[in-house]
């Protein structure tokens, strides 16, 4: 790495040094608890769409915790946070364009 990269890497490492170990154990515990809740819900005889909404909601919370704390995104510059996360959400949301077709097949049958 050149001098600039080394300097930036050292600054990032300095940021890491300020975060205590405790928060990582706390996040890990919450992730395990949410997983246990998901498994419990898996055995409830719920309507699939309702169940899917709840499970995806819980998965999004888990994803936010992993990205924010484990992947350190919470502590990055807001520019980095917004550009990466907005582009990801936008691209993934674009794929939803296929779902109306899936509902069409379900309601009308394959034509």
């Amino acid at each position: 790495m050149d001098a600039v990269q080394v300097a930036i890497a050292e600054r990032v490492a300095e940021q890491h040094r300020h975060h205590g170990k405790g928060q990582f154990f706390w996040v890990w515990g919450v992730l395990l608890v949410i997983t246990a809740i998901e498994v419990y819900l898996g055995y409830q005889n719920m309507e699939p769409v309702r169940m899917l909404s709840i499970l995806m909601g819980l998965s999004l919370i888990k994803a936010a915790l992993i990205i924010g704390y484990f992947m350190h995104m919470k502590f990055e510059l807001s520019r980095m946070k917004w550009i990466t996360m907005c582009s990801l959400v936008f691209c993934l949301a674009m794929m939803c364009v296929f779902f109306p077709d899936a509902f069409r097949i379900l309601h009308l049958g394959v034509r």
Partner: protein
């Protein structure tokens, strides 16, 4: 011309990083964004099939759910050990880094072994793909055979999605092994390849899948030969980003593929 030559070693000649971090990390984030679209496409394909098929099977009995829950716990724990490895690296405690990286790799290997065992069990019971050879002497379960025949997209999406994820976990273990041990990891990797190849029967998809380890050993050898270096805290952090991403993807696969297909009796 010599007067205008760029002074590569002068830090002040460059603008500060737009994202406030080093290039390797931005590079890894860009790769992860593109990879998340790969998994996004697979998950959307799975959801499309799920919505458009009224008789979507729910073949996963409690044994499969318990197995997948343990696998999830392995991955979550591996993320914790990985983040502790990064923390040890920024404090310059390289001995602790190695220990945490080994713990992360152990959890990753545990995940792959449990997943492989589950795949083998499902294939033997009849939930299979046409490309998989039949298991000699195995007693097929009528329920699974019916699923494979009536809703073939279930097996296709299940094996496609979980297989892609398993490949990522395997490559993640190799990546961490190289970061932790560098050249010393190559003979271990070759040993793992031989073990996986010889310990799996010839009809198992893992018999051929094991060659991924051989291929990675060749690629890693070339990389380590071309660019030998001591990995520092930034390399550990970048490797950690990849590992957490693999964990993150599983947080969506687990509820979508397993919990939404639980057999409630």
């Amino acid at each position: 011309m010599a007067d205008v030559a760029v002074q590569q070693s002068v830090a002040a000649a460059y603008e500060p990083s737009l994202f406030g971090t080093y290039s390797k990390k931005i590079g890894m984030w860009l790769f992860l964004l593109s990879d998340s679209l790969t998994f996004g496409a697979l998950l959307y394909a799975y959801s499309y099939g799920r919505i458009s098929t009224p008789n979507w099977p729910t073949p996963f009995h409690s044994s499969s759910i318990i197995n997948a829950t343990i696998m999830t716990a392995f991955l979550l724990t591996s993320s914790l050990t990985m983040v502790l490895a990064v923390r040890a690296a920024v404090f310059g405690n390289m001995r602790a880094v190695q220990g945490w990286l080994f713990a992360t790799m152990a959890c990753g290997i545990g995940f792959v072994v449990l997943h492989g065992r589950e795949w083998s069990h499902l294939i033997a019971e009849g939930l299979t793909l046409p490309v998989f050879p039949s298991v000699p002497g195995a007693e097929a379960n009528k329920e699974f055979v019916d699923v494979s025949k009536t809703v073939p997209q279930f097996a296709a999406t299940f094996f496609g999605l979980t297989g892609m994820h398993m490949l990522h976990v395997t490559l993640g273990v190799v990546y961490l092994g190289v970061v932790a041990l560098r050249k010393k990891f190559i003979p271990i990797l070759l040993g793992l390849w031989l073990l996986a190849w010889l310990a799996t029967p010839s009809y198992s998809p893992f018999h051929y899948g094991a060659h991924v380890l051989l291929l990675s050993a060749i690629v890693c050898s070339v990389i380590l030969w071309l660019k030998p270096k001591v990995y520092d805290s930034s390399d550990i952090e970048v490797a950690g980003l990849y590992w957490h991403f693999v964990d993150l993807v599983w947080m969506f696969i687990f509820p979508l593929v397993y919990l939404m297909s639980t057999r409630i009796v």
